[in-house]
Every structure is written in structure tokens, then in C-alpha cells.
Symmetry: C2
Subunit: 492 residues, 2 copies
Amino acid sequence: MTTDGRAPTGGRLDPEDWEAFRATCHRAVDGLVDWWADVRGRPVWRPVPDGVKAALAVPPPKQGMALDEVHALFERLVLPYPTGNTHPRFMGWVHGSGTPAGALAELLAGALDANLGGREHAPIHVERQVIEWSRRIFGFPEGTSGLLVSGTSMATLIALAAARQAHADGDVRREGLGTGRYRLVGYASAEAHSSAAKAFELLGLGREALRPVPVDAGYRMDVEALRPMIAADRASGLQPFCVVGTAGTVNLGAIDDLDAIAGVCREEALWMHVDGAFGAVAVLVPDLAPRLAGIERANSLAFDFHKWLHVPYDAGCVLIRDERAHRAAFAARPDYLAGAERGLAGGEPWFCEYGPELSRGFRALKVWFTLLTHGLDRLGAAVAENCAQARYLGGRVAATPELELLAPVSLNIACFRFNNAPAADLDDLNARIVVELHERGIAAPSTTRVDGRLAIRACLCNHRTERADLDALVDGVLALGRTLRHGAAARE
Amino acid sequence: MTTDGRAPTGGRLDPEDWEAFRATCHRAVDGLVDWWADVRGRPVWRPVPDGVKAALAVPPPKQGMALDEVHALFERLVLPYPTGNTHPRFMGWVHGSGTPAGALAELLAGALDANLGGREHAPIHVERQVIEWSRRIFGFPEGTSGLLVSGTSMATLIALAAARQAHADGDVRREGLGTGRYRLVGYASAEAHSSAAKAFELLGLGREALRPVPVDAGYRMDVEALRPMIAADRASGLQPFCVVGTAGTVNLGAIDDLDAIAGVCREEALWMHVDGAFGAVAVLVPDLAPRLAGIERANSLAFDFHKWLHVPYDAGCVLIRDERAHRAAFAARPDYLAGAERGLAGGEPWFCEYGPELSRGFRALKVWFTLLTHGLDRLGAAVAENCAQARYLGGRVAATPELELLAPVSLNIACFRFNNAPAADLDDLNARIVVELHERGIAAPSTTRVDGRLAIRACLCNHRTERADLDALVDGVLALGRTLRHGAAARE
């Protein structure tokens, strides 16, 4: 023992008793295995009780408590009230459903405690390998650079920062946009995700500088409408610099004609970015890959591992075709981050030169575990199955008189509503149906609006969902619609 | 069994054999416990062999493999070659050293697979509680908002985005900076971390718009020099909007006079941001807290849990005093993210309205586990011990004729060098000493430059370090300096 009573193999915050710690971990593993295996036995979601919120609201803890007690608090206060996306009947927003293999990887990554900002260590090479796999999956050329990030919002921010720096006629990083020299504008379909506009805001370009391009009947960018918009902006003295194509719109799963967009970008010398948050991974499905043709021509691609590839949150990726443009947007290495040819300060290039973050966790490990454990074919088969399920759901809706499909099923999303009530009540009624589906733990779709009408939106991005779960959704919507339709009007 | 042969309790990517999965997890836990407990038996760092890099570089895996095999690859290719920051003799850059409790929390968070972008579920309430604890720790007022992020770089970006929106005389998010209406400038000490300049770049303000304020003999911002700089910029038609104070400079651990900066900001109506990446948590040490006086007056604070509080990477936090200003910089909720008063779409406010990310992992859980398990007093004691160790190291350097302290030890950092060689050789010699310390696995300090001279920089941010580890560093530097000093000249 050292003079202050610590065991020689442990630090100040290490367990005093490693065997007790080991036992806690084993109990935690057993609890999780039971929790996973019993997922169908639970409601998809349940409200967080006020008593749980009150129990969480304790003052900052001056004294510690045994890890076992903390774990018991977790099992009592947190584990029973999750988002629900690990459940087979979760079909809201665009959430992946996770895997046990990914969770194990998080334990291992947490133990290693690596900072992937840079330096020379094995985790860096794991992240490089995951990016290399991504490059090959999407057909980007050798020399492509990339970065794992929290998700497509961050990936798009990074890609558009590179585009901004590459296309401005000067050094935006140094002098900023405030001089008024740069009047950069970009384009995305009217159905594009809000993350592109948020990136424009954060980059100081302003969301008005992202022009909404009209969509066609399939909710895809009308690429013919794009050309005159670019010409008009140029004629006004503005500087078009990028087009954001969408591979899988959030509302309906529409995929822009990426090849056509690439053609316009080549002619107009614009940066082509693709938001492929969930839809890009459809390239893993032979039947779907042709619909993504042209993705390999993009200057940058943003997509998520935590959605349709089920890596635990969070894990997204940006690929940038021109490594020099990527680095030019972010590289900055002051004295205290100097590299070295050898030793721990080696490992060039450091990942902190490819994005805004200097501290970066080891999220690459859960991606590496997921791809190695399941393989691309099996991951692709889960994607294909979800698309088949969406068609099945669309078919059931179409065949049911009281239900109405609000747009054709194009990928893995069905937007529909209960319509056997007065038209003026339908928005409110369907919103209430969704709340009741949640609160009764029946199913967890989300809502959106399609052409102004409130829709029940089922996004099938879940490897645990089976067709019976879709039947349960339809049955639940019908039963609730019939029960609630009179109340909807009364509440107005 | 279902028609495709899967067990009814599992999804397409769940283990076919839960007992085999359970056994793999138990083996993984046992391997980690042995790895942690034996940390002193290993070198602090070792190079990643070429054979390991080659073994990682496989094509994208079409077919999966057993999780056990993937875990075996991890144990062979990754675990033996970490950054080294879990080792007691790691003292480079500013890295926390992690805890077993934090790693366990990562397993649990990985299983829950929660997306903290919003909605109503227990993980949201855990993150809120961690932010509430942070608010109280730093003395911010009720109503303060906050967000867990990857680290101080992201936290500073978010804080300065809020400052930009709050102080521009118009809607920067909408119209951008390209009109030339906004000529925003800010101030930080010449010793400030590069993340502030990187945030200025990304926000479109340009790094030249961040003015370096001279430092005093203690490497702290010369606050008297700040006032005339602000006046000169105003006289030039520029719009001063923020001052970044530093609580713990990366090179030397200097803490700006935050109370004086707060006074200037109040008089000049500027946003005060504090970069407290590692140094802010010194408020947990009664002897050190007075040096941070004024931190509670800031408009925003960025700090890390993964540094001096040893939460596994990554985990930082931003606090923003004016919740409305925070939300005004980021809120955007399209139809597909509509909230609801009840159900899973409840949980207002959603965290995605406080930052650029819509997908956000459950990093709050590892913070919650760390604070509950260890308690603030014990975490503070580890901080205090590191500061005492830095003074001890400074004393040993000062008492050793061949070594030279390059700046006084002010917090937890000692910058020194071996100086028993011709002056022209010293930069190269000390850089080589550090490489050799790494490659021999003796100790892992980093390097920086202090007043132009290359320094060996020991940043004590490690709960496993003991004084004997500092003696090993000093002995190693002396032995290597004496061995290498002739070679250094020969290499030039």
C-alpha cells in the first residue's frame, strides 16, 4: 500500500476493490442481456413518471457512493424509460435501433479512453480504416479524406465549411465574411433536411443564402429548375458555390437525381454535397443502388452509421473528395500541438485538422465492431427488409378504407392518416392518435406534414421490426381513430 | 421461431445465441479489469507496429464474423496500442485518464442507444441534471441553459454563435455576414487556445477578428491593455462583441483575471465567454477557487468533463447564462420535428435547439456515473493532488543543475528543458528527448514553446500519477539528455 492507503495498482479514482468492480460489471451485463432479450415484453415507450424526475433532481453530489448503488439508480430511474428505438415497434423520426455488439464496443472504447484528435495510436488507425471502408462503399476515389462525427448535421457543417473555403476567392478563414466581398449562395431541394440551412446559418452565410429548389411529383429536386436559379443569382452579382443533393428525404425518403445534379455542378463549377443521412446506405442493396447513381461524383457526402446501420448513437461520417480542400478548411496546429516524425506525437495527419473538434472520442470502434460482426451483406439485407416492410405497410393502408396514404412509398417511409372524420378535424385527430399510440406503448411513429396535411409517419429503420408490428400499428391507428374522432372536434 | 429462422425475441442483428453473447461480454469485462489493474506493468506508450496496421487494413467486410473473433482482434490489434492516457506516467497535452466507472456507463449508454436530440425519455432528464449540477458548481444563475458536447472546441463554437446572434444588430442567422453590415470583433489573450480562433473562422467572422490581447508576466491577459483595443476598434467602425477569458492556458495553466474581464464586459456591453477547458474545475478545490473569481459573471462557459474530471472521451459542456440567447442562435423545428404536449414527442425544450447537432449520443450518462460515484470532493482532491505534484516537479527541476524551468508553475503544468548542451542545440535535443521518452515507454509528456524555446511540457491531469512517476520523468530526461546531447548537434 502507498502512504495514503491506496493499492499500488490503482489510481485515486480506480475501484478500491477490483473484484467488487468486476462483479458489478458482470451484473450490469446480465441485466442488459435480459433487457435486450425481453424487448418485446415491454411497451415501446412509457412516460417518465414525475417521481423519477424528482429522484434524479438531487444536488451536486459532494460525496460519492458505491458504483453498485449508482448502477441500481440507473436500473430504476433510466433503463425503464428509454426513447424506445431499440423496440420493434419504434418507427418514429429516423432512429437506428442499436445492436448488442455496438454496446459492447462502447464499453471497450470507454476503457481505452482514447482522444482521436490526433497522435499515433491504434484507435487512429481504426478510424482511418472505417473511413477507408466508407470511401470504398460509396465509390469515392483514393485520396478521399473523412472524419467520424456525431451525425449528418456535423458532417454537413464540415463539408460546407470546406466548400466555402474552396470556392471563395480569398481566405475566408482569415478575413471572414464581414467585408462583404463574398456573397456565397447554395441550393438544395425544398424537401432537404433543416441541417443544411442550420449549417448555412452557423457558417455566417445565412439561411437565405440556401435557395430552395422546387421538387417534382416524386418529391425530388427539379434539376431543370436549378440551372436558371444559378444563372439569376450570378446575374445579381451573387456567387453560387454549392448544391446539396438529398439521398433520402426525411419526410418521404425521396432520392434526388444525383447524377443530374453532378452534371450541373460540373458545368457550373459548383461543389456538390450529398446529404445521405439514412438513405445513402441503400447502396448496400443491389436493387436500390442504381437509384443512388452519381453519389460517387459528389465533392462531399454526409451520412450516418447510427441510423440504418444501427451503430449506437452517435456516429456519422463525412467524406471529402479533395483532401487538400478538407484540410484547408480546418488545419491549425499551434506549438502545443506540434507533430513529430516519431513517438506519440506522430500519426500525421491528425484528425483535428479535418474538423472543428480537437477532443474526439473513439466512436470508430463501435462502427468497426458493427461492420466486422454483421458484414455489409447482412446490414444491407436489413435495409432491404425495411423497404419491403414499408411497401407492405403502404399496401395495407391503401387497402383500408378509413386510412389514406399521403404520398407514395418510395423507400422505407410511409406517411398516412386516419381519414374517417370531418376534414377539419383530421390534423388534430391524427396528432392525438400518435400521442395515444405512444402513451399506450403500442407503437412509436412520429408526425410530419405532407403538402400541408398532418401525417402519421412510419420510418422503418429498425432491424427488430416484423410485419406483425406493422399490423399492430395499423390496428392501433384504426381503433384509436374510431374512438377519438368525436373527441377531436369537441376539443377544438 | 419465425419463418426466417430467427428467434422471436431477437432482431435481425441481435445475437442468435444470447448465452454466447453474454459469455463474450463477461470475457471482455474480465480482460478489461486485468488490463486496468496491471496498468503499471506496461510501457506508457509503444509504437503501432506495421504488422498491426496491415492487419487492420482489410477490405470492407461483406460477411460478418463471430463477435468473439472481433473481440479477439480488438485485444490483439487495438488494446495494446492506446494513446497511453490511462497510464500513470502519461502527462502530455491535456488528457484525462478515464475511470472504470465511466467505461461501465458507456456500455449502458450504448445499450440504451438514446438520441438526445430531443423527445421525452429518461436520458434527457439525466442530461438536464448534469447541466444543472454544472450550473451550481460554477455559480451560474437559475435559468442558465447548457448542452453536453464533445469538448471545449464545440462548446466555444456554440457560445460564440449565441454571442454573434445576440450582439449583431439584425438577424445573422437569416441574412448572414456577407452583406458587410456586421463587422464583429472579439478579444482573447495571446495565450488563448486555438479553439477560439477556429470558432471565429467557422462562424464566418474570420480569425483576424479575434484580437490577441497582450499578457502580463504571469501569462494572464493584460486587462488594462484590453480597453484601448476596444476603443480603437470602435473608432474604426468595427463592432466589438465579445471577450474570451481563459481559465487555465494550455501552455502554462495561467488563469486570466476573470473578475476584471467581467468588469470590462459590463462597462462595454460585451459578451464574456470563458474557456475553462481544464482549469475551470479548479473551483472544486477550496484553495484554488478564489483564483477563478468572476467565472460566475460570464455570459458563457466552456469546459470539459473528459480532462480533469476523467470522464471517458468525449464529454464537454457549454453553459449559457441567457437561455433565450442560446435558443435564438440554434432553434429551428421543421414539421418532422414538431413537439407535442404529451407522448414521446414531448420533452420540451429539445436539446437540438441549443446547438448544431440533431443526433446526440447519451454522453450524459458517463458524466452522471462519474459525479455520483466519486463525488465532487474526491474529484477535487485529485485536482489538488495534481497541482501539488506540479509544484513538486517544478521544485525538482529547479534543484537540478542540468534542468531549467521555463516558466513558474502556476497550476498543474511544468514546462522545462534539459539545458546542459550548446544553446543552439537545445530545441532539437529536447524534442528528441521527448520522442525517446515515448518510444521507450518511460513517460509521455508533450512539447510546446515558451517564449520561443522548445519546452518539455508535463501537464498533470491524471489521477493515477504518483510522485515516483515524476521522479521517473526527471531521471529519464537527465539520462536521455546526457546520452543524446552530442548526437543532437551531429544531426543538424
